[in-house]
């Protein structure tokens, strides 16, 4: 249990990288990139976890009654999620443009087109 979350984060990241490298479709590649990003969220939040802790949100909790987990990494992960979504949107827009200009979304065919 001590390193399982870290290992899962690494696994998710590497699985995403593998999919990215072997993808035959740019849309699929964008999906794989978002899997890679999921790995980073898991790693960030795993670093901040504290056994028996609860969220540092005090709307329904009296401060100081229960141990709380690290809010700084949660804020980082939140930014990460937002940036991940925008990156996905921008890359998909690029894919649409590529499909229009070259008539294919297969990276291998695109490489051949360029010569």
């Amino acid at each position: 249990m001590d390193v399982l979350p870290y290992l899962v984060a690494g696994w998710v990241f590497l699985a995403g990288c593998y999919g990215l490298a072997t993808s035959r479709n740019l849309i699929h590649a964008v999906g794989c990139l978002s899997v890679c990003q999921a790995g980073t969220y898991v790693l960030l939040l795993a670093v901040g976890y504290r056994d028996g802790g609860t969220a540092p949100v005090f709307s329904d909790l009296k401060p100081g009654t229960r141990p709380v987990v690290d809010p700084v990494v949660q804020a980082l992960a939140l930014t990460d999620v937002v940036v991940g979504a925008t990156v996905t949107a921008l890359l998909l827009a690029l894919v649409v443009q590529v499909a229009k200009r070259h008539g294919t979304v297969d990276p291998d065919e695109l490489g051949e087109l360029r010569g």
Binding site: T54, A55, V57, S59, D60, L61
Partner: protein, 150 residues
């Protein structure tokens, strides 16, 4: 680890695990149904987790999932309508079993909360979750007849 968390673990392992298997393999119609059921099971799991951690504020997650989960399924039903129309999904038994799990969860958590505004929020969440799921499964099995360009 209290009873609520144990129940959440059972729902997540059994239900979400099965839904994951369904969404990762098989024909498109089974995947779509499994995606729909996964949101309901995850919603029940989130309700149980909020109760298990004794944090009413975690209920917001279940509320948002109850709203957006069916929307996600409707997206698939709409944009994959042509593929699904050839082979419409039929999953009465699975759908009703999942709805049963969700209803039982909502009832149990309501009973533990007791009357008050918090219970109202729970009931709204439960109604959205179950109603949305039923509508979404209806939409999957041919709710978008003849969607062409639109």
């Amino acid at each position: 680890m209290n009873g609520w968390l144990l129940a959440a673990a059972v729902v997540l392992t059994g239900g979400l695990g099965a839904a994951l298997w369904g969404v990762a393999t098989g024909p498109l119609r089974r995947r779509a149904v499994a995606q729909n059921l996964a949101t309901v099971l995850a919603g029940s799991g989130l309700l149980l987790l909020a109760q298990g951690y004794d944090r009413p504020s975690y209920l917001d997650l279940a509320l948002v999932l109850a709203l957006l989960g069916p929307v996600g399924t409707l997206v698939f039903a709409r944009l994959l309508a042509d593929d699904l129309a050839a082979d419409p999904p039929r999953a009465r038994a699975a759908t009703w079993a999942t709805v049963g799990v969700a209803a039982a969860t909502v009832a149990a958590v309501c009973a533990a909360t007791g009357p008050g505004r918090a219970m109202g929020k729970l009931l709204v969440t439960g109604a959205l979750l179950i109603g949305g799921n039923l509508i979404a499964s209806r939409a999957l099995s041919g709710g978008f007849g003849g969607v062409r360009g639109g």
